[in-house]
């Protein structure tokens, strides 16, 4: 972007500045540290100048919003057209209680739903399973059958909201339930919009709610891709997630690298299953973390967009530009929330949310101040939502597209993160791709090393966490935390008992045995899962049927 002559002059002048002006100051008042780093340990110079971005070609590397390589954003007008979707992840207790919270959030100006399921649901156990003890309704809503799903969306017109569901191993089943509920509302599946997380690879790496081994899991995922491309065309069939990888301790570079490496594995699996890349790739979506280092995070989002566009175009020969667009949801970093002085978390979340918006996110969840302690109360969630609304309506950062572009530092960091992520992806390719790298524990080990280093930096005081290792105060334990009604487990057990007595058990048995037979073939399982769901077969029964055929994943443990 600069001619050779001016670059030479800048270089000379910079040298002079360092040897005179800076030297004098540093002699009198040394800098705080010898070396400085981003939140993810990329070394940071004192000053960035055109010298650091001299290899960037504006047209090829940055381009224009809505056009390849999408560095500056995936839409031509970004937030001048429409703000990001404000989508608070919520769900707890029974379907009735969660339904009430959703209606409250919609009435407060939230623009999309995001369903949190409890752990038994995520791992495919009914509420009356022995392993479900103590877990029912705790971290999300308990869904045992279509009956619960009908209650969950009661009075919410499914053709008018978009719904994101954080569900992975049993994603096909919950999607089938959603389609069945819509059908009962008179809404056909081609009108549904929303997302299922459906990203099993990161479950093995970082989040832990896996059920089946990798191979049948990948098959279920490609079955969903194929089914949705025909019947639910507006559905985001997967949300390839770096969020949990980052939460587990990864750096920004590792977050981008491992997420895109997993993305590559899904694309390869779908192509191998006979799908055309431009048929399913436009429905792939991503999910990233927004951490504390504001500028590094903005650069991370831009780097991820550019890198994915190149991968899809060059590696997979996609032709449809929509296949090259990295569309993503963002959540602020839960692991940065502190139990100490919880109101400080509002400020952290504001900075993180700002990073997501400056990075061009398509939707956003802001965490609540009390989430290091418990699930958030209604008051806390409202403040978190208001944080997004203040950024949208008052901060002014939404009025022009990608406002930080052209900053020497931002462009340098965007470039650096992209290069370092690419190096990781090459390494993973050498190991045989993401599933193999995960099997060998490669990603897990890299993440654990980063997590340990992060903790050691806090212990040594090199990394300051306000209120935790500096500026501590004596404080009263916080009051008014949300308590999940301990009766939920009993309520769900009773519901299950009633359901099993009331439904047509022969129809259930038939549907399940057809599913079992089909699971042994190569057929797409979605239609058969949909049939099971409609007979009110429970989530646990459907998963057990598949467990019989597929077996269960056993993790290798390292630390």
């Amino acid at each position: 972007m600069f001619d050779k002559e001016s670059l030479n002059r800048i270089q000379e002048e910079k040298k002079r500045w360092e040897e005179t002006t800076v030297k004098k100051t540093v002699a009198k008042a040394p800098e705080r540290y010898e070396k400085f780093y981003t939140g993810s340990n990329i070394e940071v110079d004192r000053l960035y100048t055109p010298l650091d971005v001299q290899n960037i070609d504006y047209i090829n590397d940055l381009g224009f919003p809505g056009e390849y390589p999408f560095t500056r954003g995936i839409q031509p007008t970004m937030y001048r057209g429409r703000f990001w979707t404000m989508r608070q992840y919520a769900g707890f207790g029974t379907a009735e209680e969660s339904n009430e919270r959703y209606k409250y959030l919609l009435s407060q100006g939230q623009t999309g739903l995001s369903v949190a399921f409890d752990l038994p649901t995520q791992i495919g156990y009914d509420s009356d399973h022995p392993l479900a003890q103590g877990e029912v309704g705790k971290v999300g809503v308990a869904i045992d059958s279509l009956e619960d799903m009908e209650i969950l969306f009661n009075g919410i017109p499914l053709d008018q909201v978009s719904t994101s569901m954080t569900i992975n191993a049993p994603a096909s089943i919950l999607l089938a339930m959603y389609i069945a509920v819509a059908e009962k509302q008179g809404v056909s599946s081609d009108k549904l919009s929303g997302t299922i997380q459906n990203d099993i690879l990161k479950e093995y790496v970082a989040r832990g709610t896996y059920i089946f081994p990798p191979e049948p899991s990948m098959r279920l995922i490609t079955n969903i891709f194929e089914f949705c491309s025909k019947h639910v065309p507006k559905w985001n069939t997967i949300s390839i997630s770096g969020y949990h990888i980052r939460e587990a301790g990864a750096t920004a570079v590792q977050e981008v690298a491992f997420t895109l490496a997993n993305g590559i594995a899904y694309v390869e699996a779908a192509i191998k299953a006979g799908l055309d890349v431009d048929e399913f790739a436009p429905r792939l979506s991503f999910f990233f973390n927004a951490h504390n280092d504001l500028l590094e995070e903005v650069a991370k989002f831009r780097a991820a967009r550019r890198l994915w566009a190149k991968i899809m175009k060059e590696r997979f020969k996609a032709k449809d530009p929509r296949s090259m667009m990295l569309r993503f949801h963002t959540q602020t970093a839960g692991s940065t929330l502190t139990a100490q002085q919880p109101d400080n978390n509002i400020v952290r979340v504001t900075i993180q949310a700002l990073a997501a918006v400056l990075g061009g996110t398509q939707s956003l969840h802001t965490n609540s101040r009390d989430e290091a302690l418990a699930l958030p109360t209604e008051d806390s969630v409202r403040i978190a939502l208001r944080t997004q609304q203040i950024i949208a309506y008052e901060s002014g950062v939404t009025e022009t597209i990608d406002p930080l572009a052209g900053s020497y530092y931002i462009e340098y960091l965007t470039d650096t993160i992209e290069k370092k992520a690419m190096e990781y992806i090459q390494k993973i390719d050498e190991l045989g791709g993401a599933p193999k790298a995960i099997e060998k524990g490669y990603m897990q080990q890299e993440i654990q090393d980063s997590a340990y280093r992060y903790q050691q930096e806090i212990e040594s005081g090199r990394r300051i966490v306000v209120g935790v290792n500096k500026f501590q105060i004596e404080e009263e334990p916080p009051k008014n935390l949300l308590k999940v009604n301990p009766e939920v487990e009993k309520v769900q057990r009773r519901k299950l008992e009633n359901l099993r007595a009331r439904r047509d058990n022969i129809a259930v048995k038939n549907a399940l045995s057809i599913l079992e037979e089909k699971a042994k073939t190569n057929e797409n399982l979605m239609p058969y899962i949909l049939d099971c769901v409609k007979t009110y077969a429970t989530l646990g029964e459907i998963c057990d049927t598949l467990r019989k055929v597929f077996g269960e994943y056993k993790a290798t443990v390292t630390f």
Binding site: L119, Q122, G134, V139, G208, A374, P478, V484
Partner: protein, 133 residues
């Protein structure tokens, strides 16, 4: 007098949540502090945890949970330890555990609950001062 026997620790994840960043960081830090550490991996039932503790002859069990099921699972683990005559094992816990729940958990025999933000040195000190070997 400081004992010369190496302290053996079982880090365990009861319940269904998959968040084991904390468990792994603690496991590694205790190992770096000179202890012998075994980590169970995810989704361990109280029965599995107690059995592993006895089989591995550990002096300390560190329970990590973020799912909110602590009030059900921690007491069950303490009950099983008592049944097996293994009450001398020091049991500590950590994770997302509301302050109000801590007195009940201590009543059940958990020696200490460490909430987010606790320096690892505090945990190492606590183990060294309270372990019964």
């Amino acid at each position: 007098m400081e004992s010369t026997k190496t302290i053996r620790v079982l880090i365990a994840k009861p319940g269904l949540d998959g968040h084991d960043r904390g468990a792994k960081v603690i496991a590694r830090a205790l190992r770096d502090a000179g202890m012998e550490v075994i980590y169970t991996g995810l989704r361990q039932t109280p029965e599995q945890i107690v059995e592993a503790a006895i089989q591995e002859d550990v002096d300390v069990i560190g329970l990590s949970i973020l799912s909110g099921a602590h009030n059900v699972l921690f007491p069950r683990i303490m009950e099983l330890l008592k049944e097996k005559g293994a009450q001398d094992i020091l049991v500590i816990g950590g994770g997302v555990i509301p302050h109000d729940d801590i007195p009940f958990l201590k009543q059940c025999g958990i020696a200490e609950i460490f909430t987010p933000g606790t320096p690892i040195s505090t945990i190492v000190e606590f183990i060294k001062n309270n372990v019964r070997i």
